[in-house]
Amino acid sequence: MTFPFSLPPWMLVWTAFLPPLAALGAATLVRRAHARAGEMQPWIEAGVVGLTLVPLAVVVAWPGLLLPARAALAAGLSIALLAHDPRDLPQTEVALKIMWVLTAAFALSWAGDALLAMASGSARAREQWPALALALDPYALWTAALSLSMMAGLVLLGGAPFHFWPGDLFHGARAHVAPFVAATLQLAGAAWLLRHLDGITAFNDAAVLVRSLLTLAAAAALAGGAATLGYQSRPERRVGALVSLQGGLVLASLAAAPSREPFADHGGLALWAGHMLLAATGATLLSRFLPATAGPEERASVLFRRHPWSGAAGGYALLSLAGAPGTPGMYLWLDVARTLADHRRPGLLFGVMLAWLAAFGVSAFEIRRAFGSPDGSPPPGRAVPRSLRTAMWLASGSLLVLLWVWRTHPGG
């Protein structure tokens, strides 16, 4: 089934900017909800806070900017944003942890890059592979260098076993910052790997090695992500685990076809990161209203008793992050599944299926738990701030537009 009319090309180009703009709007609205006064001043303050996220939004809209050095800069900027308020201890702690891990990961990767440059005589990836193909260097040297050089990309993508940072980020950072930081870091990881694999087909041994390593990493990310999703203790951490599965999807796709869609070109990457940004924005807002320990037989939280439709809007974002049917996230998972099937990778496809079942199942259970059970008590008197509800509607509405774009133009 297709829609009777399709988007004009100029509008299609601008859809890459829709998710970051909508997420910026949502971030401003979330920030506005922190202030209680009705004057203009809180709006101005919220707008200023929203503007600090613009560099990250630009990166999400245009991933072509992300050369490896710029990826490291973007990661540094993200950490600076997290650490800018020393009074916010949980967010500062997250910044510290991510900085700690990323510094080591970049150090290892740059060591690998330097070794590769020494072995091949060039610092450009496209020139390194033909030089290494001459087999003038010891096997152990270039394989060790290649493995190390990919380390930063793997850590930045946040797939298991590096899924701790998305969990910590969504648990500790503020709701309007966490999705931007997660999208930027994961995008930086994808860009890092893509740039490092540029032209690798010129050296078959290296391509085989990289495929093996990426397959291992993707399998660990998908299986580990699926296994740990149910064990997460808090709803925010579950959103983080779902975000880490998005990194697993990129790894699986790269393992199957390093130079093919859906993530090989910048448009595909922008669509993936944009969807992730929007879905994570809605999901992380929702997670702040979800009960941490209550069972499905207990009564619902304030959001779901006072504004159940807004809760449903947030639930749509959560389901999209999990790739549930009827959401734009579904198309992303389907694209990856098709890529894996085209390249005859049943093992990874099985991993994607496992992860999808876990993600969809946990999200559906979470939403049921959120709606709880009616106990006959009247709805609470105090409402959830309108700007927070608007932010959730903005995220889910933009996801619906993405769904429309995806259906009219499969694969974006």
């Binding site: 891990v101 290892l108 394989t143 380390m151 590096f162 701790f164 159940p308």
Partner: protein, 468 residues
């Protein structure tokens, strides 16, 4: 279910969801079936959360999300890889050699071959089968559910009986998706035969008529699914045969909750007894003939494994549908229940034989010996089997004194099987939990551990290429 300005009582919301869900199951297409099952699961959730014992009810019916998930998985596989539908299709190997000899077809490939497409196709077929079997209490995890009443108080005992109905609808309407895979068909046959035996035993071991009828619906659905799995008759005919048998039991179950309308008066009771027996015999007859006498050979194991439950189920229906005591001094003139009940009995009586006649017109054929042998178990149920099993009192309840009888045997057999299944499932779950425990304890949240972990993975990445 309450929304701002709009309040729908959960009973009505659940009923609407369940009705739409069952209707969607009739549509072709896995996605519709998945949405239908989601709606049925949603209905049970809406009902369960509105009850005072909601904690227990929600836990009891939580498994209902598994079947739609299985269907979503199959739908996703076919959506991502449309060519999967062609994987098990027989390939023409040559043209027809004349007007009588049909064209030759190469057999469908076995799923054990190493082509990932075959594996995925088998997986998709197994997912559909899983959904259908689980809803028919034919899988260990959901086996005991027909013993329980549903979560909506007035119609609870009847509600549980719609789950095997949805299971059969899934297997029947999606038959093209799962019956094409060779291994899946064999698994289905085995699981369904086991389910038929257990359902008949459990129906026999229950004292109350309502519980017995619920298990008989499971039995009918499993029997009809066997017709589909073994491709004995066309799907439409299997559906009609099932409608006659299970439909009759469902009407009887609903009537039992609304003044026992099936068992009012001697003539009506006898009519229902005969109609239900004919419908059940019509459903079992083609299956017994096919399983016992396929390829002009007598398959004793298949025949007797199916004949025993058929005999028990027929005898149960004949023995338990007894006239209810009339407590009213005078029946109201406007009481239409007997007329409606009689109409239901007529429909139940006619659907089965009419479907068999249609099958015969379409070319369904059995040898005279097979036909006679297949009708024997239901006939034996009139006598002597009916005399051997304890009769129900007018309230529909079996009051058996003493132990060691056939009812005890059926009860202990069913319990033994379910206990073994439950222990097996628990063992597998504990192994999975033990394997998953390291994933839970992967890190403690300490930043220094992160660093150590990263260094460990880096060392592994260095060593892995050298170990290749």
């Amino acid at each position: 279910m309450a929304f701002a300005g709009l309040r729908v009582p959960p009973n009505y919301a659940g009923a609407a969801c369940a009705a739409v869900g069952v209707l969607l199951l009739m549509m072709p297409g896995l996605a519709w079936a998945a949405i239908g099952l989601e709606l049925v699961a949603l209905a049970f959730w809406l009902w369960a959360r509105s009850l005072p014992d909601r904690g227990e009810q929600l836990q009891r019916w939580g498994w209902l999300r598994r079947p739609p998930m299985a269907l979503w998985l199959a739908a996703a596989l076919f959506l991502a890889l449309p060519e999967l539908k062609l994987v098990f299709a027989p390939v023409p190997a040559g043209p027809a050699a004349g007007p009588i000899t049909p064209p030759a077809f190469m057999p469908a490939p076995l799923p054990m071959a190493r082509d990932p497409m075959l594996l995925l196709r088998t997986l998709a077929s197994l997912a559909v089968l899983w959904a259908g079997l689980e809803l028919m209490a034919a899988l260990p995890l959901s086996r005991p559910f027909p013993d329980l009443t549903g979560p909506a108080r007035p119609v609870g005992p009847w509600l549980t009986a719609i789950l095997p109905v949805t299971g059969f609808l899934v297997l029947w309407r999606q038959a093209a998706v799962w019956t094409a895979a060779p291994l899946v068909r064999e698994i289905a046959t085995l699981a369904l035969m086991f389910a038929v035996v257990l359902a008949a035993l459990r129906a026999f071991s229950r004292r109350s008529l309502t519980a017995t009828l619920r298990w008989l619906v499971v039995y009918d659905s499993a029997l009809a699914s066997l017709l589909v799995a073994r491709d004995v008759v066309r799907g439409e005919i299997a559906g009609l045969l099932w409608l006659g048998a299970a439909g009759g039991r469902l009407i009887a179950l609903a009537a039992e909750l609304r003044g026992q309308a099936v068992r009012r008066g001697t003539r009506l009771t006898r009519f229902w007894r005969f109609a239900g027996w004919v419908a059940g015999a019509s459903l079992a007859w083609p299956l017994l003939a096919d399983a016992g006498f396929a390829e002009h050979q007598f398959h004793a194991v298949e025949y007797f494994v199916l004949a025993a439950p058929v005999m028990i189920a027929s005898a149960l229906w004949l023995n338990r549908v007894v006239e209810a005591p009339e407590r009213r001094a005078m029946a109201r003139r406007e009481d239409r229940a007997p007329r409606v009940s009689r109409l239901g009995a007529v429909a139940t009586l006619l659907v089965g034989p009419a479907s068999l006649a249609w099958a015969w017109r379409q070319g369904f054929h059995v040898s005279p010996l097979a036909a006679a042998a297949a009708v024997l178990p239901p006939l034996l149920a009139w006598w002597p089997v009916r005399r051997l099993i304890p009769a129900a009192d007018p309230s529909g309840m079996v009051r058996e004194h003493g132990s060691g009888g056939p009812r005890d045997f059926a009860l202990s057999t069913f319990r033994a099987v379910t206990v073994i299944e439950r222990q097996l499932a628990a063992a597998i779950a504990s192994v999975a939990r033990a394997l998953g425990a390291p994933a839970r304890d992967l890190h403690s949240g300490d930043a220094q551990e992160y660093l150590l972990f990263l260094v460990g993975v880096a060392v592994l990445a260095l060593l892995l290429p050298l170990l290749r």
